[in-house]
Symmetry: C3
Subunit: 208 residues, 3 copies
């Protein structure tokens, strides 16, 4: 029940983040829907393709409906929705934590080694936003604000730490998702970033 | 026989649309061939990867040959080919209709629910052009001119309407493909478009 | 043993080429790692997805470790690494030759027709660099400097020529990889390029 609610919130928030970026790019309603959908389901779809199983959205139409709700909300609330910066950020981060844990659990069920599961969790959480940025011709945020994918990996390590401690699956998933969320919230709040890779060309680029 | 001819025409037209966009981007002959090929087979390839079956072009080399013919036509006819605007648009639209129906039929054969089949039809018809635009660093046309993917979805709904009416598979496919083609032709002829998603930043963007 | 060393060198060189392009784009360390990783494993991953087998990097963590070493080298050596232009080019070309041959051999083992194997070899060798360029918003090098993918295809044809001559698998792979490497080295050394696809718009584009 709680999981369903969190899945709903995560999908909605990811779809909104896609629609938000699409607005301001001469994209029409249907285009915005597609960007929202791809942001919400892109990571899980790549995970399922790599795992050689049917994409999760084929088995449950709710992801298409939730994306439709997100588009409706964007059309009705307009700029007011996008001004909810902090609430949206929290939703997006909850989605990240949840999707990461879903990705790890699904990979574990496929008997993959733990480090592959962690990679799959990071793919589930972050590839949707990557595809969103590529479709809209932006330099992917993921490459610039590392704490995004890095938070997934920290959460993944905690996930396997909890399993070593023989915690129940439910507790493990809850703790790992919380760590992902906390890592990202703290990183943003305290402006924690990995350094930028420097090069000679970099300085030129900064000026342009 | 007719299906083979339509498949040929659709592949050729999609390849030409890729090569046309590639010209004027300092892309060489082989690069143009690759863009044409990806435009023609990209949608069906993603569909087959999602369906977990071997990509269709592995089983039949003709798609590579038709793309070669498209490159040859582009090299021989040069700008004259690209000035055939209306004929090319019609070819491209025929390809869209045909590819959509092929995608739906192949998904039905895999026993997927009807709404997944419709999504697969739209993927088959429109993802090739999406990849073309991403490779060439353009904001995907699909996101701006909605009647493209929307036509696939309308055709898909008609497809399942025809099945409900117990029409023969051949008639169903013919009608659905015709609806896709008609929807797009009418939308372009009468400038029917979905509204653009507005935002504050949008106005700034329009000026740049 | 030699194969392992060559695989190591190829992965390292491909990762460096990704990290090199990422630097100068306001990408942070982790983002550079991701670009390097995707460059190194992208081609083989698409090949394995098309072949419907588990991605090769799931079975062996060394590709993640080698990419980490490449990032470390880039951080320690900084611009000095990127000034090793010729050595890097040679590494990159060795990687191209090796990856192409690995792709062909893996496809042959899956009983695919020879022309599909050649396509798979080219995908294995060149798609990583394509994804690198798409992620970093560059017009893919592959589309502009044809001898890249074309070298893979020439090597693939030689591969099957050697098989017709009943050469041993080891000799076949060695000769084919050498041909890929030689084709690219000679093309770069003597400035051999396929002509650019011309169009009216092209001339405008050149000036901008």
């Amino acid at each position: 029940m709680l999981l369903h609610a969190l899945d709903f919130i995560g999908t909605f928030a990811f779809a909104i983040s896609g629609i938000r970026l699409a607005s301001g790019k001469r994209v029409d309603w249907f285009g915005a829907y597609i960007v929202g959908l791809v942001t919400a389901v892109g990571g899980g779809t790549l995970r399922d393709m790599l795992l050689n199983v049917a994409p999760f959205w084929m088995l449950d139409g709710k992801y298409f409906l939730v994306t439709g709700l997100a588009l409706l909300a964007a059309l009705v609330l307009k700029d007011r929705l996008f001004r909810l910066g902090k609430a949206l950020f929290l939703f997006d981060t909850i989605g990240l934590g949840l999707f990461t844990v879903v990705g790890i659990s699904k990979s574990l069920a496929a008997n993959l080694p733990f480090w592959v599961c962690i990679v799959m969790g990071a793919i589930t959480g972050s590839v949707g936003g990557l595809v969103r940025d590529v479709l809209l011709n932006e330099l992917p945020l993921l490459l610039r604000r590392d704490i995004y994918a890095l938070a997934c990996i920290i959460g993944g390590l905690v996930y396997f730490g909890c399993r070593q401690l023989q915690l129940s699956p439910g507790a493990t998933e809850l703790i790992a998702a919380s760590v992902v969320i906390a890592a990202r919230v703290l990183a943003v709040k305290f402006h924690i970033n990995l350094p930028v890779l420097n090069s000679v060309e970099d300085k030129h680029d900064e000026q342009s």
